[in-house]
Subunit: 231 residues, 2 copies
DNA sequence: ACGGTATTATTGTCATACAATCTGTCGAAA
DNA sequence: TTTCGACAGATTGTATGACAATAATACCGT
């Protein structure tokens, strides 16, 4: 965890751009979201400590944080495992996601500035351009960028704080659902409806388009989940 | 933290009904919710360790958990402080609460069993009986009981997991707003509308009644917050 | 093959330590 | 007198090591 501080004009001492715990936390989080652990897999503390080169108390702090966000579960005398929501729970999470993103779209249509709307349209353009060559990482990046604008500029910054844990808990399904053949084009079309409604300042249409979009994503994800339950 | 194990027929060793960390966490949480700390107050780790009789790593785990839930904030090299949301943030939180409780009411009206509805009515009855002698702790208990039913039986168990942190962050306002003269009666009347709508299985009315109720609570809380900003 | 027991691995928790950083104080210079 | 800077104390951020309690596993005798 050494950080080179070479830039001469800057402050000499740049010990940690962020706390070490935050780094451990984020590393662990993205490892889980990227599927580097199986659902339900036991997270052995000593192994992770050695792998990341940090002490056990620090690692545990990171784990506790992720536990609070619902990404991992704690089993009383067994330790931490990657959360593995049941099908019912996944359905409930999608339902929540639908409501929260619908709310964000509604607020954005109500309160977004013209500049915000322009940003949103730009992000949508980037996403649209990917329909022909759907590469996983690009699609994911463009989607995140779109939603980052939607959440950050919708006028209610707290939506993001509650939505993020929800998204984390269904992230293991989202990857797949976007790359199904044909699904991307449909999905982008649905998102286009959201953008249109926002552009027209049609509050209800924006909310409904957003809810519809997530409902479709949920259906796609749940079908897949039912087919491969242990995935 | 000694636990007497005297019952003869039971297992002899009853070390911890729950993990010690959970206990520390909950103790700390309720202390904060009960206003035993000022908003923005610095939480000094060593003091809390001694007060609760636990080690610093364990205390920190509890603090990190509460941080993840938004109850406390971490300031880079200063440690943890009790979260002190700005007026804008409080407004955003009430907006979210309104949407989420509206959703719960809607789902309850859609999916609650008759037995669930009967339970809800019973809780409402208990609340109604308190209008004449509004004692803080009773009102709070009855309100929690009502909402516990509403959240647990609405058919989407995830709503509670996202709503709870939201409620925690505005808890410091909720106490006051219920005890304002006249407000309780009005509040109970609003809740009564929710119950009625649910009884009638009127999904939209249930959602709207719930949203309206929280909007009124928000207005009351925000007026108070603007009058006593440092409260 | 099966049931019970011993061993091992791992968690839950503690005590302690120490460098880095922040805070506040006190003195020195303008 | 006011302001600036250095010093000391307090507190965090992180590490090490330890130990009891529990769960998992392997072993062994029947």
């Amino acid at each position: 965890m050494t950080i080179s501080s070479s830039a001469k004009g800057q402050r000499l001492r740049v010990p940690r751009p962020t706390s070490l715990r935050d780094h451990v936390q984020e590393t662990l989080r993205s490892s889980i979201l990227n599927g580097e652990f199986q659902l339900g897999e036991h997270l052995v503390e000593r192994e992770l400590c050695e792998a990341m080169g940090v002490s056990r108390p620090l690692l545990r702090e990171a784990l506790v944080h992720l536990e609070a966000r619902g990404l991992i579960d704690r089993i009383p005398a067994r330790g931490f495992v990657v959360a593995q929501p049941s099908i019912d729970r996944v359905a409930a999470l999608y339902e929540l996601r639908s409501a929260l993103e619908g709310l964000a779209a509604q607020f954005f249509a109500e309160r977004g500035t013209e500049a915000d709307i322009a940003s949103l349209k730009a992000r949508f353009g980037e996403l649209y351009a990917l329909i022909d060559k759907p590469e996983l990482s690009s699609v994911r990046a463009a989607t995140s960028a779109f939603y980052a604008i939607l959440m950050d500029r919708c006028g209610n910054p707290e939506i993001r704080t509650v939505l993020e844990p929800v998204l984390d808990r269904i992230a293991f399904l989202r990857t797949q659902s976007m790359t199904r053949p044909g699904r991307l084009g449909q999905s982008v079309a649905e998102i286009g409806k959201i953008v249109e409604a926002i552009k027209a300042r049609d509050v209800d249409a924006a909310r409904i388009a957003s809810e519809t979009h997530i409902a479709a994503a949920a259906e796609s994800a749940l079908i897949r989940l039912r087919d491969f339950p242990q995935d």
